[in-house]
């Protein structure tokens, strides 16, 4: 029978202790007459609950133990699946750390963990710390190659590019001889990492490596012997890592992760040719209005893979530390990212006619959230007129809904009356105990920013809001949890999708915005739609779960 150990009453506990004294096996043999706690009144209550994340996330993948470091996705033609190598991060790494583990997925929404495929080296070896790389398959040789970073400050060079080979993509043998060292090419021996290989239009293999403030490009005809072609500067002379180079349609792209303290995020560049793309990178010719930024500070080390039809991108959304959910959600600042590694978040990549890129929802994820849940309105304030799926909210009105689940897909259309009418979604909403601060998190759509040249752009902002014990309003803007700027819809209509998997939250609208972040405590708590002074019309509100 099923019971909850925390439901034992005092008498039960005493009995259990007596049993334990007599013999460990006794308790399980005694007749169990206990009943579980009554179910929590999820539907009938609106007080704040403090949930914890599940052990392991299946959509925005997080292993049961530890977290996902840099992903290295590739499309495996032999299995017809996407495969994602990632650096396995543990809360407490040993001297040998970040072994590569392998995931497989067909729909980019459900993953199978195929286990460790490339162990970290011993403490003294160059690859005691395994760093990012890539996997390429040579069909002629029927060989998988992992080119990766060996990181060990105790070696003559802190970083070197190393490789391993496999015939099945699961069992790899490290090359104990070959090693690419930056110093041998007049490049850095401390920053020389993240090799990324692609087939060029010239029918040669190209490998891009992140050196010290410059990328190095090597070329090969056989995926084994490499020669330096050139080095070219990183945009704005800022250290960028995890480069990914790919061709999509008529455009070549590089996606990189900018390590700058304040500008930390992934960026992209485009060019009609690989040569033009390199020029764009070294001259910082940005392809969009926000310095080529994509997504947010909560999405890093992302790389792509395409199956010939669609291209997807995987990056990690960092975990955040804090004493409670409020500390966690406000711990991210604009000059410090609190953690390395997190949950694996996948987007589909959309390409516009002019070559600009955007991240859009993954169809497989939308399908996965198949259980429809009727959102129940638990509160409407002045200015709100809502019938459950549609309605109008004006001024600072708000509609509050019943609790979310652990995995939610919230979708709706929001139309603002005026271009600059702002609105928000608030999460972790509910009544706190008497005498406590009443607080929640606001995800606001700032569609008329004060910065010059950004008045026609929109970004999502994040803050802690609340009322203190005396009912006085307060808020705390969270600098590091912003999305990048994207175009504001010309017709003031936002088709919004919000996906959550435990604390990971991904927001999209109109195939222009993607915003990956964390909201700890979002599960099993209420949420609201808020007008922020103007007027909005909400339609087709749906919540689905799994």
């Amino acid at each position: 029978m099923r019971y909850n150990i925390f439901s034992y009453n005092r008498q039960t506990l005493a009995t259990l202790l007596v049993g334990a004294l007599a013999g460990a096996g006794l308790a399980s043999c005694s007749e169990d007459t206990y009943t579980p706690d009554p179910d929590r009144g999820w539907e009938s209550t609106t007080d704040v609950f403090v949930p914890t994340d599940e052990t392991g996330f299946s959509t925005y993948y997080n292993p049961a133990i530890g977290t996902c470091g840099d992903p290295m996705p590739y499309y495996d033609q032999k299995s017809g699946e996407f495969r994602i190598l990632y650096l396995q991060e543990f809360a407490q790494n040993t001297e040998s750390y970040h072994p590569m583990w392998l995931l497989s997925t067909k729909d980019c929404a459900n993953y199978t963990n195929l286990g460790e495929v490339l162990p970290a080296g011993a403490a003294a070896e160059q690859d005691a710390g395994v760093g990012t790389g890539c996997c390429v398959y040579d069909a002629e040789q029927e060989t998988y190659y992992i080119y990766y970073t060996g990181h060990n400050a105790a070696c003559p060079q802190t970083e070197a590019v190393m490789r391993a080979t496999s015939t099945d993509g699961l069992h790899y043998k490290k090359d104990m001889v070959w090693m690419l060292k930056g110093a041998e090419y007049g490049l850095s021996d401390t920053d020389f990492r993240d090799p990324q290989i692609f087939a060029g239009d010239d029918n040669r293999w190209h490998m891009v490596v992140s050196g010290k403030l410059q990328f190095a490009e090597f070329v090969s005809d056989n995926l084994q012997d490499w020669t330096l072609a050139e080095s070219f500067g990183m945009p704005w002379g800022r250290m960028s890592e995890c480069p990914d180079v790919f061709k999509m349609g008529d455009w070549w792209y590089m996606i990189l992760s900018d390590q700058d303290k304040y500008g930390r995020c992934i960026k992209y560049f485009k060019g009609r040719t690989w040569a033009e793309l390199k020029n764009a990178v070294k001259n910082a010719w940005f392809p969009n209005a926000d310095e080529g930024k994509l997504d947010s500070r909560g999405y890093f080390a992302a790389k792509t893979a395409g199956n010939g039809q669609d291209r997807y991108i995987w990056g990690w959304c960092p975990i955040r530390y804090g004493a409670d959910i409020y500390a966690k959600n406000t711990s991210v600042r604009d000059d410090v990212e609190p953690a390395w590694a997190g949950a694996l978040v996948c987007h589909r990549i959309a390409q516009k006619e002019d070559g600009q890129l955007a991240f859009v929802p993954v169809p497989g994820i939308a399908s996965k959230y198949g259980k429809s849940v009727q959102p129940v309105v638990v509160e409407q304030t002045e200015g709100a007129d809502f019938d459950g799926m549609n309605g109008r909210i004006s001024g600072f009105g708000m509609v509050r809904f019943s609790r979310l689940g652990y995995h939610n897909h919230i979708s709706m259309t929001v139309k603002t009356r005026n271009a600059g009418d702002k609105f928000a979604f608030c999460f972790v909403r509910g009544e706190h105990k008497d005498g406590e601060e009443n607080k929640w998190f606001q995800m606001g759509f700032n569609n008329q920013h004060w910065e010059s040249g950004k008045s026609n752009l929109c970004r999502v902002e994040f803050k802690l809001e609340g009322n203190d014990a005396e009912g006085r309003y307060f808020d705390q803007f969270v600098n590091g949890a912003l999305s990048n700027f994207v175009p504001r819809p010309a017709d003031n209509t936002y088709n919004i999708d919000i996906f959550t998997d435990n604390s990971v939250v991904v927001v999209y609208y109109n195939n222009v915005l993607s915003y990956t972040t964390r909201i700890y405590g979002i599960q099993k708590n209420g949420w609201s739609i808020n007008s922020l002074g103007g007027e909005i019309e909400v339609s087709d509100l749906k919540v689905t779960q799994y």
Partner: protein, 482 residues
Amino acid sequence: MSLCAVLGAFVAACTDNQSNLVLSGDCLVQEFEVAGSGAEIDRTAYTITVQVPEDTPLDDVEVTKLVLSDGAVADVVQGAHLNLTVPRAIQVTNGSLKQVWTVRVKVMQTQILSFTLGGFNGVIDQAAQTITVYLKEGTDITSIKPYITVSEGATVDGNEVSADFTSVRHYIVKNGNALRDYTVSVVLWSTPKALYISGSARESELNMEERTAYEWMKANVPMTAFASLRDIADGTTSLDVIDLIYWHCAKDNGALDGHDPFMAYVANAVGCANNMDALNAAVFNKLGAYYSEGGSMLLTRYATILPPFIGTSIDAGGGWMDTWATPNNCWQARNEDDPELCGGPWTFSIYGDNIGHPLFADLVGGGTATVYCTDKDYGVTNSVVCYNHAEGWSEYSGANGYNHWNERVQGRILGVNDPGNGNIVAWEFPAKGGAYGQGGIICLGTGCFDWYSARTGAEYKENYHRNIARMAGNACRYLMGN
């Protein structure tokens, strides 16, 4: 259910539960070799240290021997190739046991660093593994004792053992199982290729500062002989086959303060009248001809006043030798037997973009614009010869001072006494009508360039002072085109 029954059940379970762990074997590496070189195997730290000769290419070496304890297997097998420029791990398993061994390389240095015979240092060609010692004709080389220094940890047979050098000899340096065979030959010479010159008439009359410089040159510049200015003046010593002249002119009781005192000093040394015609006829024309025909010179301290007298600086308007392009500020603070103790290392600064100049190669504390010359408590006379750059001092002062120096003196400034500014204390001239380097002249007038200390303080410990000999060696190689 009774307590006994429960305990009994546990006992039974323990008895029935046979472990499948296989723990009987060892995971030992008993023998290990790469490229034929053996290894020290530490069974406590589980490390394997392979000793290889220094010329072993480490990026691809074959494991030529791997012997494990009975029943053990490793993820590296005999015949495998490893890149041992970095440490490597070998996992040895035996049944249920596993042990990780770390393989490191220790490069066994086997170089002869110096080989001295009869007070003369041999010229060592490390690549060819040859050593040539140049000894004066008449030296008895049938039984002569070599003094050899070798790499740390290495040994060499025959050190300080008298031997017959009438034919080539071999000296083998060993370090672990690495060895290097040097071929040593002696060349007896009768005609010198290099001269150490002096105002003193004989070697025995050199003061200690000059003598120390001479001893260094004799030991380190092959086929060096001594010649006085008088020897040159009267033709006793011909300059016809000489490639290099070194003159370190030092004296006590006051500096040779520029043009006139220098003329008087030379006139006295060669025994001629103190006027230009007489000096030209006696010695300056001979040294001028030597310079014009490609001979090179290293001139230090008061000898740096010489170049304008032998044709380095030609008046742009008239085309005559500008003998007044001599240094314009010289001084001596103390006599040799009563030196000034340095409060810390004395330095001068490399001027302009000359950090990579061969003169400054491989200096202790090198690689920056600062040249360290002495150490704390080293005793110096503080004898300086310079072109003073201080505001209002002379034509070489002020914002355009260096440009004026270039135009008038017609050399290249190498060192100044203050970073980026200050008095010109090191300079050079190109070969006559040619380029800098072979056939040119290097002048070091800085008071830091001091060979000998009659007295040092309690805290003296040589560190930077070896840079004097290194700079002298650099200059000699540079001027001889090596």
